[in-house]
Symmetry: C2
Subunit: 511 residues, 2 copies
């Protein structure tokens, strides 16, 4: 639908341009005779007309006539016509306005950058970054958690092996998987909450890794069960196996594995490292590692992570600190001003993070593993509805939700409406899990933010279309995030630094 | 040329969209089988594919086959493909980015507005506006100047009458016109400079009016002389008169006047009031006054003049005042920051002024006078070169320069380069005249600014094309103006308020 709209819009704009050209051609009538504009940089129609006039005059072979036309042109230099901005003129070509927008944005942000440097000086401090990961240099709890995660991976693999051999009943296997996955979510949360040397950033990274692992192992269990179900069906009906499709379906010359040939340590770790959450017996593979591509992605990874840290320290932190006082006092107009001030850097950081993670890092990993499917995101920047945005900005998670949560719910007979809400509920749970546990405080802002997407999606879908819908999606991204960030940061500061005990920079910014 | 480029660009973009659609269609392959996305708001290709698959399945009449396809689809959910942002994907559809620009601009400026109100409160003061025009409520020097201007108009008219009768020789007439026009420029300048009750704003308006009158009377003299030259030629050759073209050349049914029938008071005052600088014996007239159009332009005039005053008092003045200290101290980084800070409001005010004067006011006057030619500006917002901008943003002045200055110079045998530079020199002179005299200080900033357009035009025309040229023109407009404004305002403050004696607001803004 969206592509159709684009073509339609272009056709319309094209029509407008042609109309505008006609209007200009009509306007050009006054420019006859000799060189009609101050320099040679004239518009097409004027130029053509001038040349035509010259040819006519040459044909007439009459210097007197030329002189007469020139004088007549001199005497009458006005023509009945409308102003371009009047609706009656039919003129619609405002492509220069796009460049205007870009120039204005660049200039405004150049000013903000300069103002920031003048006000705060250079705030970047690499030592501070290290302290975000390490409270105690002899205790690395987040790294330990990452090593421990291998236990859950191996438990899942060996359970599947037993199930494939039939030495474990389906129900017992299901029970083992359930216990394994439950501990997988609760154990790191408990460690993050109660180990004092765990920092918030370290905890968030560890929990993020465990969440990804949870989704991967859930998919692993599901797919292997589907394969067993199929083998049973095949055994019953003696029909052709579908768990290992015939080789002509694949372009690559690589050997395809069939269930249970996939239950190896190598296959398992390839899946754990691959940039996807959905397990598949035979992933599409790229033919070779493109070194140039790999190095470009590596450079982007290194560059953007530096820029993210720089902008956070130099731009985000001062604004957040200066927002504490208005938030405490519940000063509404000052709060709005700080929110809007935070929105720009927060949004730019989010865009950079998106590119860094979903394009550079994931493509780097995929290239290294020769993983073929690089669809990590879709064209969410053109989304005209909130749902389109959530379906397209994070394709791995979207694919997982569709394959392992939404479709199974539909198959079990639940309604689309219910299943969709359930997906948002699950997403809200994980958002809250990834924020509240590392910060060691439970405020439900992230949960509310995710659940608020449902009524927002309904509102936008109901009332806004096309570019208005797209603008609404952008506004919700740009404004919604810093709102949640401010809420958490405020609560965190109040909890950890108490009233009036904020960092000294806060006071600098108040009059 | 520019229209051709637009069409070319649109065709290219269209091609890109089609390519993108193809890429999407290819991407859509994975979405077969049952409902493939979380909700009904899916893209065209996925939706079509889903429907096609359903039809196929219905035709196969096999529940088993459907089940098998579904399971096969479940098991294989990846496809070898590139990320959209990789250059290899061929994807180019970023139309959402335009909406992003607009949203970011609106949000940034909403924040600036709120910040301004919080920092300064409401600064708007209508009494202050009146004081800009009146120093002494019993002496209205600017208004008196406007009344005196009638003398010059009548002198020009009666000189022409004598010339048409032959009771004054061509040379004597030329001399009278020269003296009349010289006094027209010098007398109001002298009044503005030496009458103490004249304010800067009142002086600028009076001088602006006199400059317009100068250009109009110069045109009046030129056209009437051309008419006489033609009559003489006609009398010599007995050929058909061209000074009054035959009526079939005009669409309107109005009676056309011939020289010297145009030398009436009514005709003269119509020309003085009409929104053009080029005299013509028979101006194109619109058939009737459209009341709705007139009222809309009147409303715009009243609305924008209020907004201009509001934004100047609330936004421009505080920034200018806070820029005095950095300018005095020659603090370069702080000066740049203030310049960029001033650029946005200054530019918006200029855009509003442009619309207010060139669209609302001129169209209002034209509608009232049934003046037919409404081309007061052209599409300068799309200009890809500095010369195109100067040729198209102010059509009345451009037309005058072309008809009464540039072409006569060419006819006298001067080169294009010289004539073009002469036009810029004339323009620079009048810019300086309109700024320096009312401010009673001669700094040549406006003159330099106009003359700097020549090398700028050369640089932009030489090195930048298309959108880059357009962006360069925008930057020169956005940055160049506030630079000159700051220079003048700084000098004015230093001259009138001395060092350290700036208004109290200045101190508020410094840390």
């Amino acid at each position: 639908m969206s592509d159709l709209n684009v073509n339609g819009a272009l056709t319309r704009r094209r029509g407008a341009t042609l109309r505008a050209a006609t209007v200009r051609a009509a306007n050009g009538d006054s420019a006859t005779g000799t060189a009609s504009l101050v320099d040679g940089d004239v518009s097409l129609h004027d130029g053509q007309r001038t040349r035509e006039s010259f040819l006519e005059l040459a044909a007439a072979k009459s210097e007197k006539k030329k002189r007469r036309v020139e004088v007549g042109d001199r005497l009458s230099c006005h023509k009945a016509q409308e102003s371009l901005l009047s609706s009656a003129s039919g003129y619609r070509n405002y492509r220069g306005v796009i460049n205007w927008c870009v120039v204005m944005l660049v200039l405004s942000n150049a000013r903000l950058f300069l103002e920031n440097i003048l006000k705060y000086g250079i705030l970047v401090d690499p030592i501070q970054v290290i302290s975000l990961f390490l409270n105690d240099p002899y205790s690395w709890p987040a790294a330990c958690l990452l090593i421990v995660s291998n236990v859950f991976i191996l438990v899942a693999l060996y359970t599947e092996r037993q199930l494939s051999k039939g030495s474990l009943s389906e129900f017992a296997g299901f029970l083992v998987h359930c216990i394994n996955l439950s501990i997988l979510l609760t154990f790191p949360a408990a460690v993050v909450l109660w180990v004092p040397s765990m920092t918030s950033v370290g905890g968030a990274i560890a929990l993020g890794f465990y969440t990804i692992l949870f989704l991967k192992l859930y998919s692993y269990e599901d797919v292997n069960r589907w394969c067993r179900e199929q083998s049973t069906a095949k055994a019953k009906k003696l029909s052709r196996s579908l768990s290992c499709p015939s080789s002509q379906q694949f372009k690559g010359g690589e050997q395809k594995v069939c269930y249970p040939g996939n239950l190896t340590i190598k296959d398992m770790y390839y899946f754990v490292l691959a940039p996807t959450l959905c397990y598949e017996l035979n992933f599409p593979r790229s033919p070779k590692i493109r070194i140039q591509f790999l190095l470009r992605r590596l450079f982007e990874m290194l560059f953007f992570i530096q820029l993210l840290v720089f902008l956070t320290q130099q731009w985000m932190v001062p604004i957040i600190q200066s927002s504490m006082k208005p938030l405490e006092d519940m000063d509404l107009s000052l709060m709005t001003e700080r929110l809007l001030r935070l929105a720009v850097p927060n949004h730019l950081l989010w865009l950079m993070f998106f590119y860094w993670f979903f394009h550079s890092t994931m493509n780097f990993t995929a290239e290294l593993l020769r993983f073929g499917d690089r669809q990590f995101y879709n064209d969410w920047w053109n989304s005209e509805s909130v749902t389109y945005f959530w379906q397209n900005w994070n394709i791995p998670v979207h694919k997982w939700c569709l394959r392992h949560f939404y479709k199974p719910l539909l198959r079990k007979g639940f309604s689309k409406m219910f299943s969709q809400s359930a997906v948002f509920f699950l997403s809200a749970f994980f958002h809250e899990y990834l924020v509240s546990v590392p910060l060691r405080m439970f405020r439900l802002w992230a949960f509310t933010g995710m659940m608020a997407q449902l009524p927002l999606a309904w509102l936008v879908g109901r009332f806004l279309r096309g570019n208005y819908g797209n603008a609404a999606v952008w506004i919700s991204i740009i404004i919604g995030q810093p709102f949640a960030v401010l809420m958490y940061v405020h609560d965190y500061y109040v909890m950890n630094y108490g009233d009036g005990d904020l960092l000294p920079l806060t006071l600098l910014d108040e009059q």
